[in-house]
C-alpha cells in the first residue's frame, strides 16, 4: 500500500535539511517574572528521518514542537522548515496557510472537528489549502482513510468511532495535503498498545516512502523504533552521543554532561592515548572509530578492537587509577570526533548516578576479566590495569 502522492507539488525549496532550528530562545513572561523555556536550541533534522523527541513534562518539548510547527514564535533565533523561514517572513495567518500545505500535525487528543464526519475532517485541510480539484478531494480523502483502515467508518462522526480510530483518522487528515513533514505530539499517548503499534507501523511506512516524521513520545518502546532520538531537558537538547553512551543517566545528568564535555578532533591514524600514559579523561566517541592497539611480541602493532560512535574508553583507568596499557588511536580511514569529560566530573557523575556506576562497573569488571584471561595467554589486549 502506498500513500496517494500529490499531483500538486508542495513548495519544496532546495534545502539541505527538513528542519533547521538555530539558537532558538523562548522566554515566557507572566506575573511571576520571566521564564526561559528554550535556552538556545539548535536542531537539524534531515529529510526522511524518523525522529523521536523525549523529555520530562516541563522540559520544553511541547514548546519546541510549537516552534517547528509555527504555532508559537521564538523570542530569538530562527526556525527554517522545508526551506521556509517561519517567523521572519510569515504572519500568523500566512503561517496557517503554509502549515496546511507543508506540515501535517497529529495531536495526542486527535483533535478532529466534532461536527464533521471522518471523511469531511480529512477533506478540510484540502479545502483550506485549496489543493486538488473540488471533486478530487473526496476521492483522495477516501483513499487516505482506506490506507489507515477506516473506509467503512468514513461517514461517521468522530465521537461515533473509537479513540484509536479517531487517531488513525487524524493521521489521514495530517496526510491530506501530502506534506513532506509530519509532526506528532504523543500520537499514541491515549491509545492502547495494539492501536499504538498500528500507528507506529503507519509512521514507519511513511518514512520508508520518504516522509520526515518528528514525534514527541514518552514511550521507550517507540523511541527504539525511530531512527533518531532527541532528548530535551530543561530547555536544552542533550547531546545525542552522550545520551547513547550513558543511557542510564537521568535527563538532567545527561544535560550536565552535555555541557561539561569538550570536543576533540583527532586526524586519521593519530594516537589518542599512548601506552603507560597517565589517563585523567573520559572519552566518548561522537564520530568516526578508534582502534585499540597492542604491541605484539615482535613489537608489531596488533589492533585488538575497534570502538564506534556512542562507545567510550578511559573509564577503567579513571575508576581504578593507573596508566594506559594499550595505544588508542583514530582509525586510519577518517578523523575522529571525541567528547571528553575530566576525571573529577566523571567521578562526580558516577556518584550521582548509582545505575550508571553499576553499569560502568560491570563493564569495567568484564573488560578486566577479559584482559586477564587474555593476559594469561599472553595475549591480553586491554590497555589498562
Amino acid at each position: 500500500m502506498t500513500i496517494p502522492r500529490s499531483s500538486v507539488a508542495s513548495t519544496i525549496s532546495p534545502a539541505a535539511s527538513m528542519l533547521d532550528i538555530r539558537r532558538v530562545v523562548k522566554t515566557f513572561k507572566n506575573a511571576a517574572g520571566e521564564f526561559t523555556v528554550l535556552k538556545g536550541v539548535d536542531l537539524q533534522v534531515a529529510r526522511g528521518e524518523f525522529v523521536s523527541i523525549v523529555g520530562k513534562s516541563g522540559s520544553g518539548k511541547s514548546t519546541l514542537l510549537n516552534m517547528m510547527t509555527g504555532i508559537d514564535r521564538p523570542t530569538s533565533g530562527q526556525v527554517i522548515v522545508n526551506g521556509q523561514d517561519l517567523y521572519t517572513a510569515l504572519d500568523e495567518s500566512q503561517r496557517s496557510r503554509w502549515r496546511g500545505k507543508n506540515l501535517g500535525i497529529v495531536f495526542q487528543f486527535f483533535q478532529l472537528l466534532p461536527m464533521l464526519s471522518l471523511l469531511e475532517n480529512v477533506m478540510l485541510p484540502m479545502d483550506y489549502a485549496g489543493l486538488y480539484d473540488f471533486d478530487e478531494r473526496p476521492r483522495r480523502a477516501m483513499q487516505l482513510l482506506e490506507m489507515v483502515g477506516l473506509k467503512e467508518q468514513s461517514a461517521k462522526l468522530p465521537m461515533a468511532v473509537s479513540t484509536g480510530q479517531q487517531q488513525l483518522a487524524a493521521i489521514a487528515r495530517a496526510l491530506a495535503c501530502d506534506p513532506p513533514l509530519i509532526v506528532a505530539d504523543e500520537p499514541t499517548g491515549n491509545l492502547d498498545s495494539r492501536t499504538a503499534d498500528v500507528v507506529i507501523q503507519i509512521f514507519e511506512r511513511l518514512v520508508a516512502e520518504g516522509k520526515t516524521i518528528i514525534m514527541v513520545t514518552h514511550n521507550p518502546s517507540l523511541t527504539a523504533r525511530t531512527t533518531r532520538n532527541i532528548i530535551i531537558s530543561d530547555g536544552e537538547i542533550v547531546n545525542e552521543t552522550v545520551a547513547r553512551a550513558l543511557p542510564l543517566l537521568n535527563h538532567r545528568q545527561m544535560l550536565q554532561v552535555t555541557k561539561k564535555v569538550q570536543r576533540q578532533s583527532v586526524p586519521p591514524g593519530q594516537a589518542i592515548l599512548r601506552r603507560d600514559e597517565h589517563v585523567d579523561t573520559f572519552f566518548i566517541i561522537e564520530r568516526g572509530e578508534v582502534e585499540i592497539v597492542l604491541q605484539g611480541k615482535n613489537r608489531q602493532d596488533v589492533t585488538v578492537a575497534r570502538l564506534s560512535p556512542g562507545e567510550y574508553f578511559g573509564e577503567v583507568e579513571l575508576i581504578r587509577g593507573g596508566k594506559a596499557l594499550a595505544v588508542v588511536r583514530a582509525a586510519p580511514e577518517a578523523p575522529v570526533d571525541l567528547l571528553t569529560l575530566p576525571r573529577e566530573e566523571f567521578l562526580t557523575l558516577l556518584e550521582a548516578s548509582p545505575l550508571t556506576r553499576e553499569a560502568i562497573g560491570r563493564i569495567v569488571q568484564n573488560r578486566i576479566e577479559q584482559n586477564r584471561s587474555i593476559d594469561r595467554r599472553g595475549k591480553g589486549w586491554w590497555p589498562f590495569r
Binding site: 495567518s93 483533535q111 477533506m123 479545502d127 465521537m159 461515533a160
Partner: protein
C-alpha cells in the same frame, strides 16, 4: 474576605468581555422597561396636568356673530363658570417673502390680560399682541417659514392684501387639541379685526362649568342647557363641543399607544431574560471545572449555589448602575418626543419612582429567575463530570469512552449529507462547519432564534400595520376623489362655476356639493354627536363608496344618510334602516341611516346624503358654496398648481373664493399624524431587533469562546484568518436567515394584533389588515446586516486566537 467570595469578585473581572455581555443582556431589558415605564408615567401625568394647567374650556360653542351686549346671557347661565368670547375665522396667509398661501385660523381675543381660559404659553417674543400685530402658534412654523419681527401677508375676501407684524410665538395646548388636522392658529386683538375686514363681533364662546369639570355627563348637560338658552335669545349655535378639564382629548389615543409600548417593553424584558439565561448557562458551563475543584475540596451544593447566586446579583447590580440612569434619560426623551408631537408640555425632568422600582425589580429578579435553572444544574454537577467534563458538550457530562451513538439530529444531518452526495452535491467543508455549528447548541439556538424572530416579526408587523393604516387612509381618500376643492364665501350657481372653472386648462369635471350640519340627539333630547352631512349629486363619480353594512345613498333618497361607524360610539346597536333624531338649523327632524362606512371622524361625525335633497333643504338648489374639480392629472404637485390657478382665476373674475385646496393635502395631513404613530412603533421594533441582535452577538461570542480549541485545530491544519472569520459570520447569517423564515410566520399574528390595537386607538374601529412585502424585504436586509455585525466581533476574536493559546490546555 473569604476565599470563595473573593473568587466571585475575581470571576467578575476574570473575563471582562463575558461580564460585559451578561451585564448588557440584563441592562438592555432594564433600560427598555425603564424608558417605557418612565415615559408612560410622565406622559400619563403631564399630558393631563399640562393640559389642565392651561385651563381648558369645558364648553365651546360655535355661534353666529354676537356682540358684547349678548355676553350676560351666557355669563349668567346656570352652572357656568368662567366665560371668554372670541372671534375665530380662517384666512389665507403667507410670509412676506413667499408666494405660498396657507390657511390659518385667526383667533381674536378681547383682552389678553384677562385671558383666563385656553391659556397661551409664551415661547418666543411677546405673547400679547398690540393693535395690528399678530402672535402665532408654533404649529404655524411648520407651514410658513417666518420669524418674530417679520411680516405675515393676509389675503382678504376681495383679493386685497394686508400685512401684520409677527411679534411672538406661543403654544396653545388646549384650543383644537382634539383635532390635529385643524389649521394652525394665530392670535390678534379685537381692534385688529377691522384691518382684516372682519366685524368687531364674536362668534365663539369658551366656558368652564362651576361643578365637576371631569364629569362628561354633567358638562354635556350644562352645554345643552347653555345652547338652548343662547338660541332662545336669538343666536344660532352651529356646533357645541365639550371637554374634560383634566383629560387631554387625545389621552385615550395616547394611552393606547403607550399600552402598546408597555406590551413591547414587557416583551423586551422577556427577550432579554432569555438572553440572560443563555449567557449564564454558558458561563456556568465554562465554570464547571471550578465547580468541580470547589467540590473536590469540600464545597457543598448550597455553597456553590450561593456563590453563583451572588455572582448573578452582582451582574444585576452592575446592569442597574448602567441602565437606570440611561433609562431615566431615555424615558424623558421619549416623553418629550411624544409631547412635542401632540403639542403639550412636560412638567420638567424627573426620576419616576415607579419606573425606578420596576427597573430594580427587573434588574434583580429577572436574572435570578433566568439564572436559577443553570445555577441549580451547575451546582449539582458531580465532581467527576465537572473536572473531566467535555466543556463543549451540551450537558457538561463526561464523554463516554469508546464509540457513542449518534443522536437523531446527527443521523438526520448525515442522511441529508448522504442524500446530497448521492446527487453529486458536495458542500465545501468550511460551509458545512458553519451549518452544523449552528445546530450544535440547540437550546441556545432556540433562545437566540426566539429573540431574533420576535424582533423581526414585530419589525415586519409594524410595516404591515403601517401599510394597513395607509391602505385605510387611501380608502378614506375614496370619499375625496376630487383633485381640487373650491370653497366660496357665498353660494354660486352650479352651471356658472362649472363654466368659469372649465376656462382653466386641465379642468375636466366640476361638481357642486351641498352641506348640512346637524346635531344627533339622544332620545332625551341632549346632543350626542355633531354631524356634517356632505351631499354630492346622487351617483357622483367623486365618491367611490364602500359601505361596511347597508347601502350607499342613491338617487331619490330623502332624509337618508350613510354615516360613519363612529356613530356606534353613541348608538352601539344602530343598524342600517334605523332612524336618528337630529336637529338641523334649530329644527328637530328624523333621518334614516341607510348604510355605515369607515371613515376618520374629525370634529364630529360625517355622513353622506344626496345633493338633490340637501340642497333643497338648505335652500341652495342648483347652487353651492363648495365645488369639487377633477383635473387631467392627479399627483399632489399638479393638484397644488391647479388649486393656485383656479384660485387666481376665480378671484380675478370677481368671485368670493375663500379657499382652493389640493385634494390630496387633507389626506396627507392625516397620514402625517399616522406617521408619528408608525415611528413610535418602528422605534420599538428596532429596539427589539437590537435586543435580538445582541442576543445573537452573545450567542456567537459564547460559541466562539467554547470553540476556541476547534478554531486552533483549524488553524493548525491551515485555516487563514479570513477562513475563520467567514466560518463565524456564516453561522451568524444562517441563524439570522432561519429567524427571518420563522419571522415570516410569527409576523402574521403580530400584524393582526398590532393592527387591532392601533386601529381601535386611532379609528375606534377594527380595520382590514393589509400585508406588504416591504417589511419582509427590509427585515431580510436588516437581519443579514445585524447578524453579520453581531458576528464580526466574535469572529475577529476568533481569528485573533493564536493556536498556542488555544491548544495550551493539552
Amino acid at each position: 474576605m473569604r476565599p470563595r467570595w473573593r473568587k466571585v469578585l475575581l470571576d467578575l473581572f476574570e473575563n471582562p468581555t463575558r461580564t460585559l455581555l451578561v451585564v448588557f443582556s440584563i441592562a438592555v431589558g432594564v433600560f427598555s422597561i425603564g424608558v417605557i415605564a418612565g415615559a408612560y408615567v410622565i406622559i400619563a401625568n403631564d399630558m393631563s396636568a399640562s393640559y389642565a394647567a392651561n385651563r381648558p374650556a369645558n364648553i365651546e360653542l360655535r355661534m353666529d356673530d354676537f356682540d358684547r351686549d349678548f355676553l350676560p346671557v351666557i355669563e349668567n347661565a346656570p352652572e357656568i363658570g368662567d366665560v371668554e368670547p372670541r372671534r375665530v375665522f380662517n384666512i389665507r396667509a403667507r410670509a412676506a417673502n413667499s408666494q405660498a398661501w396657507t390657511t390659518l385660523d385667526i383667533v381674536a381675543i378681547e383682552d389678553f390680560d384677562k385671558n383666563a381660559l385656553n391659556l397661551l404659553t409664551p415661547m418666543q417674543g411677546q405673547s400679547k399682541p398690540a393693535r395690528r400685530e399678530i402672535v402665532i402658534e408654533r404649529e404655524v412654523l411648520k407651514e410658513i417659514d417666518i420669524q418674530v419681527g417679520e411680516d405675515l401677508v393676509f389675503q382678504l375676501p376681495d383679493g386685497s392684501e394686508k400685512t401684520l407684524r409677527v411679534v411672538g410665538i406661543v403654544q396653545d395646548p388646549t384650543t383644537g387639541a382634539d383635532d390635529f388636522l385643524a389649521p394652525p392658529f394665530a392670535y390678534i386683538t379685537m381692534d385688529t379685526l377691522p384691518t382684516l375686514r372682519q366685524p368687531d363681533l364674536f362668534n365663539r364662546i369658551y366656558a368652564t362649568v362651576q361643578g365637576n369639570g371631569n364629569d362628561a355627563e354633567y358638562i354635556r348637560r350644562v352645554a345643552a342647557d347653555l345652547k338652548d338658552r343662547v338660541e332662545k335669545n336669538g343666536v344660532t349655535v352651529r356646533r357645541t363641543r365639550s371637554a374634560l378639564t383634566n383629560q387631554h382629548p387625545l389621552a385615550s389615543t395616547v394611552n393606547a399607544i403607550l399600552g402598546i409600548l408597555l406590551a413591547l417593553g414587557v416583551l423586551i424584558v422577556f427577550l432579554s431574560s432569555s438572553l440572560i439565561a443563555n449567557t449564564l448557562a454558558a458561563l456556568l458551563n465554562q465554570h464547571l471545572r471550578h465547580i468541580g475543584v470547589m467540590k473536590l475540596v469540600g464545597g457543598r451544593d448550597k455553597q456553590v449555589f450561593a456563590m453563583y447566586l451572588v455572582m448573578i446579583l452582582s451582574f444585576g447590580l452592575l446592569a442597574l448602575a448602567l441602565a437606570v440612569p440611561f433609562g431615566g434619560i431615555g424615558a424623558y426623551a421619549l416623553a418629550e418626543f411624544i409631547a412635542s408631537q401632540l403639542s403639550f408640555n412636560l412638567l420638567g425632568y424627573r426620576i419616576v419612582p415607579l419606573a425606578f422600582v420596576i427597573q430594580i425589580v427587573v434588574g434583580i429578579f429577572v436574572p435570578l429567575v433566568a439564572g436559577f435553572g443553570p445555577v441549580i444544574s451547575g451546582s449539582r454537577v458531580s465532581v467527576l463530570s465537572a473536572i473531566s467534563g467535555d466543556l463543549a458538550s451540551e450537558t457538561g457530562s463526561k464523554p463516554q469512552p469508546g464509540a457513542k451513538r449518534e443522536t437523531l439530529f446527527e443521523r438526520f444531518e448525515n442522511a441529508v449529507n448522504a442524500a446530497l452526495l448521492r446527487r453529486g452535491i458536495h458542500l465545501p467543508r468550511p460551509l458545512l462547519i458553519s451549518l452544523r455549528n449552528t445546530f450544535r447548541r440547540k437550546r441556545r439556538l432556540a433562545l437566540t432564534l426566539f429573540t431574533l424572530t420576535m424582533g423581526g416579526a414585530i419589525f415586519v408587523g409594524v410595516f404591515n400595520v403601517r401599510t394597513t393604516l395607509f391602505a385605510y387612509m387611501d380608502n378614506v381618500g375614496r370619499y375625496f376623489v376630487a383633485d381640487v376643492t373650491l370653497d366660496f364665501s357665498r353660494p354660486y350657481r352650479l352651471s356658472e362655476i362649472e363654466q368659469v372653472a372649465r376656462q382653466v386648462p386641465g379642468v375636466q369635471y366640476v361638481e357642486g356639493w351641498a352641506f348640512a350640519s346637524a346635531e344627533i340627539l339622544y332620545p332625551d333630547g341632549t346632543v350626542a354627536e355633531n354631524l356634517v352631512v356632505l351631499a354630492p349629486p346622487a351617483g357622483s363619480r367623486l365618491v367611490d363608496a364602500e359601505p361596511v353594512s347597508g347601502r350607499w345613498v342613491q338617487a331619490g333618497d330623502t332624509k337618508a344618510i350613510a354615516i360613519t361607524e363612529g356613530i356606534l360610539r353613541s348608538f352601539p346597536n344602530l343598524k342600517p334602516g334605523d332612524y336618528l333624531d337630529v336637529k338641523v338649523r334649530g329644527q328637530q327632524d328624523r333621518w334614516q341611516v341607510v348604510g355605515l362606512f369607515k371613515f376618520i371622524d374629525r370634529e364630529g361625525l360625517i355622513a353622506y346624503g344626496t345633493y338633490e335633497y340637501f340642497s333643497r333643504e338648505t335652500n341652495l338648489a342648483n347652487r353651492s358654496v363648495s365645488f369639487r374639480v377633477v383635473t387631467d392629472r392627479h399627483d399632489e404637485a399638479y393638484q397644488r398648481e391647479m388649486s393656485e390657478k383656479l384660485d387666481k382665476h376665480f378671484r380675478d373674475a370677481g368671485y368670493q373664493i375663500s379657499q382652493a385646496r389640493p385634494g390630496l393635502s387633507a389626506l396627507n395631513n392625516a397620514t402625517e399624524s399616522l406617521d408619528i404613530l408608525v415611528i413610535f412603533l418602528l422605534i420599538m421594533a428596532l429596539l427589539t431587533a437590537v435586543v435580538g441582535a445582541m442576543g445573537l452577538t452573545g450567542t456567537m461570542g459564547m460559541n466562539v469562546l467554547e470553540r476556541t480549541r476547534e478554531i486552533g485545530i483549524m488553524r493548525a491544519i491551515g485555516a487563514v484568518d479570513a477562513e475563520i472569520m467567514r466560518m463565524v459570520i456564516v453561522e451568524g447569517m444562517v441563524i439570522g436567515l432561519i429567524s427571518w423564515v420563522l419571522g415570516l410566520f410569527l409576523s402574521i399574528p403580530i400584524t393582526y394584533g398590532l393592527s387591532l390595537i392601533v386601529s381601535l386607538a386611532v379609528f375606534e374601529t377594527p380595520i382590514e389588515v393589509v400585508f406588504t412585502p416591504l417589511g419582509y424585504l427590509i427585515w431580510l436586509g436588516l437581519v443579514i446586516l445585524l447578524s453579520v455585525l453581531a458576528s464580526v466581533l466574535p469572529a475577529r476574536n476568533a481569528a485573533r486566537l493564536t493556536i498556542r493559546e488555544v491548544l495550551a490546555y493539552e
